[in-house]
Structures are given as C-alpha cells and as structure tokens.
C-alpha cells in the first residue's frame, strides 16, 4: 500500500510516497536525491548506506522507509564543509575513491557526539562495521582523532 510520509532530510522537509517494503536507502537516493547514501551490500554489512536518524546511525539498506515518518535524517551532504569531522577527513586525506567515506563520516559524527574523546580502541569498536576497500583506515583513524581534538580541545 502506498502511503505518504515526511522525512526531514538535512533540515528540509520532503513529502515522499512509499510502499510497505520501500527501503529508506531507495527513498533517499531516488526521491530525495541524497546520493551520498550508497548501497554496498544490501545486508547491513558494509556501512556505505549509513545515515543518522535523530543523531543515531541507521543502515538505510535495512530500514523500512515508512517507519521513519517525521524523522530528522542527516546525510553527509548535510554536513558543513567546516564541520569538524568533515574538515578533519579532508585534511587527513581520508578518502581514496571516497565511495565508503560518507558512511565513515556519519559514524564518526555519532561517535564524537556520544563520546567526545574516544580512545583508539573506541574508534575501532565504533567503525569496525564499515568497510573501506581502498584501505583508507589509517587516515580515517587519524581524521577521527583530529576531529575529536577540534571539537573539544583538551
């Protein structure tokens, strides 16, 4: 059954029509146009489709869109260039092909909101569900540490 729901994506309301089984991933890519949200596996195992809903990370490839009526969704496009996480990723060169990176940026944003000064172990624990096939992990790890520093200087 088709229903209309409202998604607030990066601060803008979008009225979208969804079926019972429509995935949040497909709505964001095809109706909202936020193509930083990407399908890498479709089974919740790579993190390329990560978005934040009310600040919490969600694998949009597993999320039914209709359950997000009224949700505030953040995608990587919604983060400012000067955002601490974004600018740290840029400065640390934490992107090769870049396909996976928006997912890492959002996971890192979630981590630093909950835990402003994570240890290296805590960074690893939080990001281990995201796959970067280019192997940008050393730069990503540095970027998260840099962003933590930038958001809450010791």
């Amino acid at each position: 059954m088709t229903v209309r729901i409202t998604l607030k994506v990066n601060g803008v309301d979008h009225r979208v029509a969804v079926e019972d089984d429509t995935l949040l991933l497909d709505v964001l890519r095809e109706q909202v146009g936020t193509t930083s949200v990407r399908e890498g596996c479709g089974v919740g195992a790579c993190g390329a489709c990560t978005v934040l809903s009310g600040g919490s990370s969600v694998s949009s490839c597993l999320a039914l869109a209709r359950r997000y009526d009224g949700a505030e969704i953040t995608t990587a496009e919604g983060l400012d260039e000067n955002d601490a996480v974004v600018s740290s990723f840029v400065e640390c060169g934490a992107a090769q092909c870049g396909y996976c990176i928006p997912g890492f940026v959002l996971m890192s944003t979630e981590l630093l909101t909950d835990n402003p000064r994570p240890t290296e172990q805590e960074i690893t624990d939080h990001l281990e569900g995201n796959i970067c096939r280019c192997g940008t992990y050393p730069e990503i790890r540095r970027a998260v540490a840099t962003a933590a520093q930038r958001r809450s200087p010791a």
Binding site: T35, A76, G93, A95, C97, G98, L127, E128, I131
Partner: protein, 771 residues
Amino acid sequence: MLEQGWVGGRRARFDTAGRVRGLVSHVGDQPVGAAAHVAVHRSTQPHALIGAVHTEDALAMPGVYAVLTGADLYKQFGDRLLTGPAFADQPALAHEKVRYVGEPVAAVLAADLATARAATDAVWVDYDELPPVYDLADALEGSAFVHDELKPSSVFGDLRHLRGVRDTNVNYTYTLRHGDAQAAREAGAHTVTGEFWAPPTHHVPIELPCTIAWVDAGRLEMLTTTQTPSYVRQTIADLLDLPLSRVRVTTRPLGGSFGAKMYDRLEPLAAALAWTTGRKVRLVASREEAFLLTTRHGAAVTSSLTADAEGNLVSSIADVRYDTGAYADVGPRITAKSGMVTPGPYRIDTAHVRSRCVYTNKPSAGPFRGFGVPQVTWSHESLIDELAHRLGEDPYAFRRRHLLREGDEAPMGTRMHSADFVTCLDSVANAIGWFEPLERGSGRIRRGRGVAVGVKAVLTPTIANAVLQFNQDASATLLISTVDMGQGSDTIMAQIAADVLAMNSERIHVVRADTDATPYDTITAGSRSTYHTGNAVRRVAQAMRDKLIALGAQHFEVAEADVELTPEGLRSGERTVPVAELVHGHFGARGATLTAEANFTTSWAPYDKETGRSEKVTEHWFAGAIGVQLTVDTATGRVHLEHLAVAGDVGRAINPALVEQQLTGAAIMGIGHALFDQLVLDQGQLVNGTLLDYQLPSIRDLPDKLTPIVVESPHDDGPFGAKGVGETGILGIAPAIANAVRDAVGVRLTTLPLTPESIVTALENKQEEES
C-alpha cells in the same frame, strides 16, 4: 604554494572535499528517466545443456517489457555474441550450454528493478546435465570439457595457433626454460619443495557495477563503471558490427575497482539488449551478482628451489595452474606474465616453469590487483625463506645476497632497471627492527618476524594518448581516457602537466573518459597509468609549452630560445607577459583555446615460444618488499600484526602522499588475502557470496603500526623518472606474514588463507611429529 601541486608535491587528491561529503557523482547516481531496468535469470547448474527456456510466466507479469534468452541474442548476433579479451568464449547470455552456477541465462526488461528481479524467478529452464568440472584436478584429468574447442580472440596475435584445439581444459600454457633446471636440481646440495595454494578471492569494490545503454541516432551510447573504456568501445563495436565512430562509452569516477570493472562485465549484455529492443536499459549488479561477475584466480603451484653447497641458487622449478573458471577472460595473459616471474627476483642459474590457464565450471576469474603475481610470490617467497632456514642463514641476508641488481638479467631474459629490490628489502627490515633482538615470548603468545620481496612486469606493449586544451584564462583541460577509481590519476596527471607548464595544478581539469572526446588509452590497469599516460601527459604539456614559448617569442620579437615559461608568465630578459594576456592578444578573444596532442607507445620483444624468454618482455619492473612483526596465539591460532612495513620502488613519487596511500591500501587488502579472505565453492556453488559471509579487512585488522616506504630509483624513460605503484604493495604480504609465523612458531604453511584453525592444526601436527 604552487610547487605543492607539481611533481613531488603532496597536494590533496582532486575533490577531496566532495568525496568526503559524498558529492562526487557516480554512474549509478545518474538519473535515467524512462528506461527498462534489467534483471538476470541465472543458471542453477554448473555444467548443462540448455533445453527450453520458459519465459511465458515472466512475460505475463505486469510491468515486464521483454524477456530475452541467449538463443534470442544468438539469432541476432551469431558468433559475435561471444566476447572476451583473450578468448572470444563468453556469451552475454548463455547460449546452448551453461558453464557455472549463476551464469546469466535470460534477461528480463521491466519498468522497475523490483519487477524485473521478481520476474526472473518466474523464468524456468530445462537442463540436460553434463559432468561438472569442479576444480583443477577434474579439469586436468580431462574427461569432461568446459568448452568444446578453444576460441582465441583477435586481440592477441600470439594466441592464434590455439584456434580450434579440442578436448582440453587447458586454454594456454606458458613455458620458461633457462638452462637444465632438472639436472641442476639433481646436482645441487639443498632442495626445498612445496605445494602452494592461493584460493579464489573477490575484489569487492564498494561501488556496485552499473551500466546504462541506449541508442541515439543510430549509435550505441553507454555510461558504465569500467576501467577499460577504449576496450569496451571496441568490444561493443565488434558485437554490434558497427564502426567505432558509432559507439560511445563514457564513465564517471569509480567507487573502487581493483580489476573487477574491466573488459567484459555488464557492457556486452547492456549493448545487446539496448540494440535489440531499442530501449534505454539500466543494469546494476546486486552484491551477490557482483561476486559472480569475476574473481581472482585460485592458483596451485608445485615448486622447488635448489642451492649448491656454497649456498648459490642453482635451480628453480615450478608447475603453476591458474583456475580461470568458465571463461578465459584475461587468464592466458595472467598465466604468461606471472609464469615468467615465478622464480622470483633472484639470480638463479637455471629455471623451468610451466604455467597453465585452466577452465573449470566456476565463475570466471580475471584481473585482480597483482595480475596473478601474488599467487606465485606466495610460492617463491615461501621457498627461499625455507631454504634460508634449511641452510641456517638469516632469511633477510640470504635473500639480499641473491637479489637481482641493476643490469642483471632475470631468468626470463630481461634486464633489471629501476627495480631496487635491495633498498626495498633493507628499508622494511630496518623499519621493523630486524637487526634488533626480538622478545620471542615463551608462553602461549609467540613473536616472529618475516620479510618478502615481490617483482612484477608492467603490461607491455601499450598505448597512451593525451590532448591538452590550454584555455585563454590560463586554465587547462586535459583529455585522457584514464579512469580515476580512487588511485588518484586525475590528481597526478594534473601535477605532471602543471609542473611542465609552471602553472597551478588546481587549474587543470581532467576530463572523464568519453570515447567521443578523450583519446585512446589501452586500459587503466596493471599500474601502468603513471608511466604510460603520465608520459603522454608530459609530452602534451611540453608541446603546449613550446606553443606558448613560440607565442611569447612573437610577442617579444625575440628568438624562442630567449623566452622562458615561468609561474608569472612568459619572460624574456626583464620583460614578462602573463599567459592569459598573451593568449588573449594572440586570438583577440576571451575564452579561446590552444590545443596540443601527444602519444606514448611502448614496445616489447615477444617471448620465445620454446623458452619463454625475451630480452625485453616488459617496459619496466615493479619492485617491492614487505617486513612484518607479529605474534601468534598458540592456543587459538590467532595472528596479531604488530608492525607491517611496505616498500615500493616507484622510480619517482609524483605525489608521495598518494603513493603511500597506494602502498598501505594494497597492504591492507593483502592482509585479508593472507589471513581470511577467500571465496568458498561447494560443487560449483558459491557459498559465501554476500558481505555477511565474505570477510574483508576492517579497521580492526590494521596492524598496530603500518609503515609505507617510498623508494625512488628513477626510471630513465619514466615521466620525471616515475613508475606506477597500485599493485606493488600487495605482492609479498601473504608470504611475509607466513614467514613471520614460521619464525614465531616453527611451522610452514603453504595454503592460504592462514586461518586460526590451519595454524592450530599445523601446531598439533608438529607436536605429534616431535613426540
């Protein structure tokens, strides 16, 4: 700072900010408007004749436009339906018989992807089962044949003699014969032998393959995720029997590839469907389907290495079998290129290698970062390590003594230049503290160190072209067909041109491959772009510099020799004119462009059919080394990497930051291949083809310390001395880790990956032997 963007500068990758926020748009992001979405019905049989294909139920489903079978396409295209880079053996849809579980049998075109995918379940096929060829043993036993006869393509002239050969699953054999290796082995004092296995693996670029094809004014146009746009254009032109001018292949930046998105993937099917139905078609592979599109060759190597009483290497013998699956793809080339480096980068008196490419009823194997070389490096770097242990020598020092030096001739007959194995090995050994005492541990946790060296030839011969438009406002537009898939080619090509033109590299835009506009380039693969396309880019920039200097000479009314191009503009003595002003003055118009073009082509001496030797088998060499310190938990078999150092001789680093990233990225991929990464097939059926089941390296698998080391031994003909680096870092990872495990706990493992179970089992066997 301008120089930051020139050769040797660590400028940021093109559009890093866009990549981080996901603003780079990829093929799958392009809106297609009204199009037919395509899904594929796949074979459930490894090897069977196709009877009737029942499509009526699928056709009757609402939203389904058409269902096409291999027979439908064969009717239209005949034998042109069979494509492939080395052998024209692969149909876009299976025709007459299926050769692996998962092979495309019928294509459904529908209004949307969900409908198309649902309708594929309504297709059913009558099969007449044939005896399956599950693995190398079945294939070489030779009672059932995956193909009735061999069908070399027209791409490689040296495969022509194989046309029509029947009753074999071996589609290609490369033989290297240097001296009498058998006699030398018998006369030698110490011989080590091994049966090595490297399993099939998958590339898993995170971006899924996607192709959109349509017909426009009688031309076939295509937007596709490919590393090989020039190749694809030729393939599609051959398939549709069109002149090249009526085929257009365009790309976007790729979200990774590593060899997965090249040659014939979704493109022949997309072109055939668009051409046959007249519809715009969009094909996208699901992750499960992407696993079936191509794989890395599983390879078995039976080998030996012999030293004489003084410890000199006297004989290397190897029998290499690459499992290429149902279709040859580029397997025959891999078989030859890797076969010739099977003895390793050492001075060895004699060598005998037989390297075979073998059909089986499995998903096809093709190119993967390293082009088959990691599989033979697994053999030669394990053997030489074991030989050092046998002789009571230090594995680092033993290798170092025998490594090929500048000017040395490798066993396959080609000399070494700009391949500094010794410095690579020295620098990784230093980095991991090889010369310092090791706290080995005495309880459950044992510590060890290992090294490995890798050698690979660059693809030769190949062709690169570049066109440069210098815009009146002193910006430039560079047209090349190199595809940026994360390696950073758009960035370093701009650096090369900017260096020559003394301009800001950020003002150079690199146009995405579009065969209507960008000139022919063999392929973006095999780490060839920096050297080959880089040379074409350097030449085109030099041609442009000459034009600007000529304009400057006119302007100043002096000889060209008295004019110099500087960041401030053209200078003659005390006088300077900004380039923008000069070009404006010349054309009398804003926005005008100057155009230059250049070509760079390499040549080779084909190897001798009998001996496999050639004085110039390759344009240049890649040299790398790995050093690793690790611990092994003897109770669980778990390996923990404390420090991994990866060195590559890149001639000259155009951008050291990107070079380091290629080295560490390749090393991380190699860690997966060493410790857990593998495709598991059971009776021809892929059993772990999802990311829930297929393990890939995550941030948790990073070594405690990972050190990239850039070695620079300039190549005489490289652009600014540079060579590529994409594969160098992956070659020796698995043997370096296995050698360190050997050092830590005294067991030699020869089967990859080195799973905890395999290590525990080996330890148990060792204990039994000792008691």
